[in-house]
């Protein structure tokens, strides 16, 4: 059975990816699953400098989901190289580096550093970060700013370039067109959905930053809709994600045209679940008389 899939120039042995922020820098998952059996892992978002993230509370459980306000906490590029890179060289899975910055210059800085690392197969850009030069508005919500950012990053990244977009991205059609023009290789759809939690006992908002990102099965229908819309607006390969907990969820994203899928929040609850989804997809293909993954991708229009 051929489960191989492509994201531009990047070939994955199967379409199941571990999403950024739910599998650490890879090593954290070793007690639970064999990383070499997933299609790729996406590292926790890294910036050039270490970043301490938001004050607690950082997570809040909802019905069939989790809200988070981690605030992009990460150890910074240099400590990542010191602590994790040589270990990552011992595994064979594809490694996608998720990167972010507070300014265009910081984005270019981290993208350039990642591009030079042999062990990194692709760079995924998180564009849902506050732009400190624009009063903290998200890069994703300003089409012109985003266009310039993506162009600038593309010029320094030779490797596969993926852009992670979510529901807050402005002017979707226009954005997708310039992503194509700038030579982006693929899209990760979706990021978390902005959401609010209220503490009625203490009569206040749960999170200090007020709005937090909702993920988990609660967002799956919303994520499917966004993937579906994106699929009809661009030919760029899509990594579909948002509430994938089991094989059937993964199949739904593949059927509407995602070339790969990412398991995110499910990893928190069952860190080995990706290794149930890989054979799950395979059995489905067999049961439906298909002999390669490509027969499945985009079958539902």
């Amino acid at each position: 059975m051929n489960l191989e899939t492509r994201l531009g120039p990047l070939v994955l042995q199967n379409p199941v990816i571990l999403a950024s922020g739910t599998c650490g820098y890879g090593r954290e998952m070793v007690p639970f699953l064999d990383l070499d059996r997933v299609g790729a892992i996406t590292l926790k978002g890294l910036s050039v400098m270490p970043w301490e993230g938001n004050p607690p509370p950082r997570i809040h459980e909802t019905a069939a989901g989790v809200m988070n306000s981690i605030g992009l906490e990460n150890k910074g590029f240099h400590r990542f190289v010191q602590d994790d890179l040589s270990w990552l060289e011992t595994v064979h899975t594809r490694v996608i580096a998720n990167v972010w910055g507070r300014t265009e210059e910081e984005y270019i800085g981290i993208a350039r550093l990642m591009d030079r690392l042999e062990r990194i197969d692709a760079v995924e850009v998180n564009v849902s970060c506050p732009n400190v030069e624009k009063g903290g508005e998200s890069f994703a919500t300003n089409c012109r700013v985003l266009h310039q950012l993506i162009g600038a990053i593309r010029r320094v990244v030779q490797k596969t370039l993926l852009v992670k977009i979510g529901p807050t991205v402005a002017e979707l059609e226009k954005t997708l067109k310039f992503m194509e023009r700038e030579g982006v290789d693929g899209l990760s759809v979706t990021n978390t959905f902005p959401a609010l939690a209220v503490d009625s006992e203490r009569q206040c908002l749960v999170f200090e930053r007020k709005v937090a990102g909702l993920s988990g099965p609660a967002i799956k229908p919303l994520a499917l809709k966004l993937v579906y819309d994106v699929r009809h607006l661009t030919h760029l390969p899509i990594i579909g994600m948002g509430g994938i907990m089991k094989t059937e969820d993964a199949l739904e994203f593949l059927l509407i045209g995602a070339s790969a899928i990412a398991v995110g929040t499910a990893n928190l609850v069952d860190p080995a679940v990706a290794l149930e989804i890989v054979p799950g997809i395979e059995s489905y293909l067999v049961a439906h008389g298909m002999n390669r993954l490509d027969d499945l991708i985009g079958k539902v229009r």
Partner: protein, 256 residues
Amino acid sequence: MKQTPVTAIKTRGGSFVELELAGKEIARVSRPGQFVMIGAGQSYDPFLKRPLGILSVQEDRFSLLFQIVGQGTKLLSQLQPGNTVSVLGPLGNGFSLHPSEAVLIAGGRGIVPLVFLASHFQQAGIPFTFFWGVKNELELVLASYLASFSPSCVLSCEEAVSGYGCGTVLTSFSSWEKTHPLRSGSRVYACGPQGMFRVMQKIPFFSGVPVEVSLEARMGCGFGVCLGCAVKKKEGSGYVHVCKDGPVFLLPEVEL
């Protein structure tokens, strides 16, 4: 995900429940101070697993003790022998196990990891004194877990109860400490509410001896990937994470 069978469940009153699970692997490798993440429901609500401290281990099974505080723990309390749950663990760093002498200080349900630690000290022949304090009579149902250490225990209750010192666990410790100098190489181990740790950080005695504290936190994953259980570092900037860097920390390390 692998399912672990429930072998026994005992309601202790005062909303405390002891849950015994089959699991040779977890029983064999667990150390005092470690915890497991346990799935409370079969559906997506509640969605996350719950972190619970390990109370004791036998050859092929282990026990958890928890208080019903919300929907997740309520569902866990309704399990029956023969039901199965999904469990990840053991997780976290655990206590250091080789002091020359130990003082254990537990507040309320903070007794759980220290009962496991005390059994280790008892087996290893390490002398210890176990201070346990509760707010009210309801929590005294947990006293039975100290029965096998009773000569080494000092109990206190903030409500007047016969047989118990009146006041907090820290008042009873402070009066004991005046007449019991600790030998060198001693350590203090504590688990309880945040308020107890905050008071400890202000008592000069505790800056002269290594104090290990086990923290409780709401967790997303329990194994260091979601970074949800952040606690501010005392020195410098940034956070530590209870699940992976802890749950056991040195008292001066963390801002409580």
